[in-house]
Amino acid sequence: MTTLWDTTGTAVVKALGAERRKAGSVSSGLALTLVVVVEEGRVEEAEHAATRAAAEHPCRLIIVVRRRPDAPEARLDAEVLIGGRLGPGEAAVLRMYGRLALHAESVVLPLLAPDAPVVTWWFGRPPQLIAHDPLGVLADRRVTDCSLADDPVAALQQRAVDYAPGDTDLDWTRATTWRALCAAAFDSIESPARAAVVTGEPSPSRALVAGWLRSCLDVEVTTQDSGTNGITEVRIELEEGEVRVSRSNGRTALLSRTGQPDRRMPLEPRELGDLLAEELRRLDADETYARALSVASGVGDLDQRPAHRTHVWHDPTEAADPDPALTVA
């Protein structure tokens, strides 16, 4: 591991090269570069998740911590490591102070693995507009996490407004388990659906599951509040009978279908690293997500939008409504 204090981007690139040579036979099976935008307090959690995901998708990991954009002096501190605590791959942790935080791409660009796709993941409050963050503009895939926003449901709405193909949200990833259960429950059912109800605490996941059901089944889908965590039940009314998936306790789901015995299926909570690994599996636009998000938010034609964004200059120290992704403690 090399630690560099008050350094420059060039020195970081050199240190990475030196580390690679030091590691001996470098197996460079890099599939992508993962850029993680995170605040200081969550660095460890982000490192853990990224390491887990990197085990499945060999990548170069760049962790960007923006600190005190209002600091008078711009400064860069960096850690470069290969095959260390951040898994078998190559990793750099970059801490940027002062105005440098607004020009993070100047350090990150030369560090990207040549010609490999870039995934940017904001592990913190999602950006208002991804175009505000140059680290989002340079990425091929962008992953946000609405559950970390101050108002998650409003944040999902904003994701639809700001959507471009290649965007996804971890709340959609969290919904995969429920979607898989619904799909399994619906296998070999011939009767068409009439209506559906998704019950759970108000959350982006609940909205996305409802949006997804509606986009697939083309029927009325309502949501119902329940006090507990996450989604608790999905009920689909059929022309004949009904299909119900409900959570009986934390780790098991119950599948009930009219005229058939009830069945239990696993409903394990997934770790952040597993969610991230699922995101990295696909580097193209997720059309199913676009449709679900479109229905959930009422914003139309999401998949018609251009995939590329142009950077919009945004200075959080001057803006009346500073973008949360750039305003870091």
């Binding site: 499945e56 394990e268 599996r281 199913t288």
Partner: protein
């Protein structure tokens, strides 16, 4: 999947949702055997743990034990705890345990099979299995006819009668020569229909083998040079460091050629040499593989190009090991081969004149399986002869196990003021952790059986074509035995007998050291 689009919640574009089979029963005959304990049950658990088994899944064990469901569950639990790749979770197990059943009985017991048929019908109601069942024959081939006839008698193998799908999984050996494999294929295909028969060759379930297809057909870089214009020869090696373990009874009558060459190595050869399939469905893949196997010619000069060996005592990995003939249960006069090396030719326009060297052996220095494609040397070199003395032929090596990956060997300048060129290796490797996360071959294959995807399973014609290649070699060796010639001995811990080295030397080549 049988009806991929009938479920409105599944769409082709939505690749986050896992492919999950229809509700079904998996019936395992010989469930108390080694394979079931070491591979099958752990694979079932891993699938359950990954959420890839359908809600209405039942594991039904059948064996000659006076057991109840509970006894079997205890055995299965121990097997899953010991062999599972994924973390053992009590909650997953308790769910799976609910759907584990055991039926005692011997294979000639009509009553037991009647009970089995009835149990399967009951499951349609209690578990909603809709008549779907896969039968895994984890039993000696000698017992096949009895079990298959029982299934035929009770109508268990009939898709129509059961109202769902009925599939059967067969393990190697698929016979011991062409006539016996034909007989076996006829029997199995008669009781089930040919498309419901899944022959497991676990090598084909390995990631790298599937990656070979991606390497060849998803890239433009390799296919143009994948022919006799550029390829000098191909070496396919499957080496094992272990001896025969406790399998003397089986191995004495089988030998390396029948055990490994006929199935694994010829399948690897077929995947290496085949033309581009029109699609990646089972039918297209099998068609192309069959064509290659059909174009294979056994060596004309068997004495020179079919070498067999048997390990003698020696030292392997720092330990003293016994000779094959000194193994328990092996005759001290045994002429069974534990090593086989052959040269085969694929008589197609693409491969004419390119020898395929195949070798397999036990008690070799290390466990390794790889496919080495060796290219021609450059016809003219603009360097002085002394500059390129260390330059060998370019090679592309697909490492199947361990360290799954691809190696490319090419010449590079030695740093310094003189112009010297020597070989360097460029490695692509799935990271250590990556390999760990990739599913066990059995897991993948079992899932494919339940999904009805046959692309990774050899078809009966492939098996028969393989025997057509192996039979003349076996006959030749049998004649040798009659003439009083034993297999060449090699020391345990070395790369096979000298005769195998001579075989390549005769062609002006050498074996790669894997």
């Amino acid at each position: 999947m049988v009806h991929p689009l009938s479920n409105p919640l599944r769409s082709v574009g939505d690749r986050r949702l896992p492919r999950v089979p229809d509700p079904c029963a998996l019936v395992v005959f010989g469930v108390t055997g080694d394979l079931a304990k070491k591979k099958l049950i752990p694979a079932v658990y891993d699938l359950a743990n990954r959420g890839l088994l359908p809600a209405g899944f039942v594991l039904l064990g059948f064996a000659r034990r006076d057991w109840g469901d509970g006894d079997f569950e205890t055995l299965a639990r121990a097997a899953a705890q010991k062999g599972a790749r994924t973390e053992f979770r009590e909650s997953t197990w308790s769910r799976l345990a609910e759907s584990i059943k055991f039926l005692p009985g011997s294979f000639d017991d009509d009553h037991a099979f009647d009970t089995l048929a009835e149990t399967l019908r009951d499951l349609d109601n209690t578990q909603g299995t809709q008549g779907n069942a896969a039968f895994y024959l984890s039993i000696p081939p000698a017992a096949f006819p009895t079990v298959l006839k029982q299934m035929q008698r009770t109508g268990m193998a009939d898709d129509r009668e059961s109202g769902g799908w009925r599939r059967v999984v067969v393990e190697k050996p698929f016979g011991h020569d062409l006539p016996s494999s034909k007989e076996l294929n006829d029997l199995v295909d008669d009781v089930f229909t040919a498309r419901d028969v899944f022959r497991i060759d676990h090598y084909l379930g390995k990631e790298t083998v599937q990656n070979l297809l991606a390497l060849r057909f998803a890239n433009t870089l390799f296919e143009p040079i994948w022919n006799s214009h550029h390829v000098d020869s191909v070496q396919i090696t499957m080496a094992e460091d272990v001896g025969i373990g406790g399998r003397a009874g089986f191995y004495e009558g089988t030998g390396a050629a029948r055990d490994v060459l006929q199935n694994h190595l010829l399948q690897l050869l077929a995947l290496t040499a085949m033309e581009e399939p029109v699609g990646f469905d089972a039918e297209s893949l099998r068609t192309e593989k069959r064509k290659v196997l059909g174009a294979l010619k056994p060596p004309r000069d068997l004495a020179a190009y079919a070498v067999r060996g048997q390990y003698d005592q020696g030292w392997l990995a720092g330990e003293r090991v016994k000779a094959y003939r000194a193994e328990e249960g092996v005759s001290s006069e045994s002429r069974t081969e534990t090593y086989a090396a052959v040269r085969l030719e694929v008589e197609t326009r693409r491969w004419a004149g390119v020898p395929f060297y195949l070798r397999t052996g036990k008690r070799l220095p290390r466990r390794v399986t790889e496919i080495g494609v060796i290219f021609h040397r450059a016809p003219v070199l603009p360097f002085a002869k002394s500059d390129t003395e260390e330059l060998g032929a370019n090679q592309l090596v697909v490492r199947v196990q361990p360290d799954e990956g691809v190696t490319l060997r090419f010449g590079s300048k030695v740093p310094g003021t003189t112009m010297e060129v020597r070989d360097v290796a460029m490695d692509f490797q799935y990271g250590e952790a990556f390999t760990e996360a990739s599913p066990e071959a059995y897991e993948r294959l079992l899932l494919d059986v339940l999904l009805g995807d046959a692309s990774l399973f050899p078809r009966n014609e492939e098996v028969e074509e393989s025997w057509r290649v192996i039979d003349p070699i076996e006959h030749f060796w049998a004649e040798q035995n009659d003439a009083g010639n034993a297999p060449h001995l090699y020391r345990a811990g070395e790369w096979g007998p000298k005769a195998a080295v001579d075989m390549l030397a005769r062609d002006g080549r050498v074996w790669r050291r894997p």
